[in-house]
Amino acid sequence: MKQLVQATSAIIIVCLLLFFASRSLESAGAKGSKDTLTVYNWGEYIDPELIDAFEQETGIHVVYETFDSNEAMYTKVQQGGSSYDIAVPSEYMIETMIEDDMLIELDHSLIPNMKNIDPYFLDLPFDPGNKYSTPYFWGTVGIVYNPSMVPEDLTFESWEDLWDERLKDKVFLVDGSREVIGMGLNSLGYSLNLKDDLALREATDKLIELTPNVKAIIGDEITPLMINNEATVALTWSGQAADMMWENEELDFAVPEEGSNLWFDNFVIPKTSKNIEGAHAFINFMLDAENGAQNADYVGYSTPNAASWELMDEEVISDERFYPDVELRERLEVYENLGLKWLGKYNEYFLEFKMNLN
């Protein structure tokens, strides 16, 4: 009988431990108070020195956490257990979060540095009047390649260049359904937000023709491969390409003319926030001209902060590959929120494409 009681209580203890463990995991150690600020950002997306500087300036302790996809971030914020004060979703996810009433309206009087932002990046369709978000970084999707390792006539001004027979087993793609299917749609001249089965079918078939050229579909691991000249051509985000080119000067980056994706990552304050004032202070701090310039130098992505441009290297700012002019930007498309049904379909087609690789 004694053993019986022991065994039963052991189970109850395990259950309680699991319960508390999941509770404390969800709240991510952040109790949420006036003295702490929990920032939820993409990996490698901020200069850590700026966090220290912010802590010193304000006395607020920053808890910094990272995510690797908009969807993962959404799920975690939605579960509500954690008190994130700042998150950095992309435009289509901001739209979703506004719809789902997950964000706090910003108090613009607490963010005077908003004036530093180039007007182009304000008042965009996903958040009219910037009621809920302020720009952080922006960029495009394109092709990074090593000119010395591909035939000379391939400049990737057109997506078609990827289909060139001479690139057999040389192309690397990023493991994202919207990027890859979007590329298929763009190469056919369609919009990358299309909700049309026939066009998606056509795009997938076109992508399947690309499979002999595709060496691998991977994630961030592509960066060291390009830097070490182990990979020749890769579909990737502009900022990641900038990172690679920083390390390996041979590389070049192009955004094909048929069109591609233009994206924005913005600061938002989720409703889970327990330190709304601190969150505003943090946003304002990051939008400061000097801080913005330092951060952009460190991260490598394109900053929308016009005041920072003045302080940055002229060569970087005038580089059309990373700071395309307004005319080029017009040819690019911003992702729209597809909705779960169509997002699922994009993923099914992407899966089919992957199945055809081998």
Binding site: A7, D169, S177, I217, E230, L340, K341, L343, G344, L357
Partner: protein, 267 residues
């Protein structure tokens, strides 16, 4: 007496109900929900489409190859281990690498197999051109086999170690060649170890997912990859759960095929 036995079972029943039955029931429940949370069998219908059937087939094929090569290496190794002097030490040395995080080992292989990695440096010494080893079937199977070897060796080693050596001597005494002894005496007596080894290799191999991306560059797609994508990207928990249900079914089937026969069934 019998009622006392029943009460003694009580903790086990709760344990199993909470940590085995309840999660499986939840997976089953979710598998019958569509995106908006309505009851549906649509997910099961989708599973029987060409993509998922092909994926099931590739998962099985690669799991089979991985198990086969793991067994091919593990059995002789375990056999030789039982013959060594300090067998526990040797066994320990083989097991230690499995204490290192799987992801860490996988990343190490990216460097080892790289165009400028040690393997290519080695073959260049013999005048061959560097080969692209990463992102091929070979690299995928090699790394998977490497990861599963310790798990296959342990059960086989245990059953070989328990084998009464006098049986081998008796067989040799009665005129059996060493090959016949192995085939008719040693192998049948250690088949249970082999079966458990196959279970602990084949079942996880069916749902490998991280290695398929890091080492195979998504050239190999298994059911595990599809589950990950359904949960994390599509947010379609229903379809993800449905694939998981099939995975559970396949695992039960594998257990049944490799299951151990009741003792005394054959005299």
């Amino acid at each position: 007496m019998q009622s006392k036995n029943r009460t003694a079972l009580f903790p086990y029943v709760i344990w199993i109900a909470l940590f085995v039955i309840a999660p499986i029931a939840l997976v089953l429940y979710y598998s019958m929900l569509d995106l908006s949370g309505n009851f549906t069998l649509e997910n099961y219908k989708n599973f029987f489409s060409a993509i998922y059937l092909k994926m099931t087939f590739t998962s099985f094929w690669y799991a089979f190859l991985i198990t086969f090569f793991t067994l091919l290496i593990a059995y002789p190794t375990a056999y030789l281990l039982t013959k060594t002097k300090h067998k526990q030490l040797w066994l320990m040395l083989i097991i230690i690498p499995s204490w290192i995080n799987l992801l860490l080992k996988t990343y190490a292989f990216i460097g080892i197999f790289g165009l400028y990695g040690p393997i290519n440096a080695f073959i260049e010494v013999f005048g061959f051109d560097p080969q692209q080893i990463l992102f091929t079937d070979f690299s995928f199977i090699f790394v998977s086999v490497y990861i599963f070897i310790p798990f296959m060796i342990i059960p086989i080693f245990n059953s070989l170690d328990k084998l009464n050596p006098s049986l081998v001597f008796a067989a040799r005494d009665l005129g059996a060649s060493s090959w016949t002894t192995f085939r008719r005496v040693v192998f049948p007596l250690t088949i249970d170890g082999v079966k458990s080894g196959i279970q602990v290799t084949f079942i996880p191999a069916l749902s490998l997912f991280m290695i398929t991306r890091l080492i195979a560059g998504n050239q190999v797609i298994t059911l595990g990859t599809a589950i990950e994508q359904q949960f994390l990207v599509s947010q379609n928990w229903g379809m993800g759960s449905t694939i998981a249900v099939f995975l559970i079914v396949f695992m039960v089937l594998t257990m049944m095929v490799t299951g151990q026969k009741k003792k005394g069934g054959r005299v």
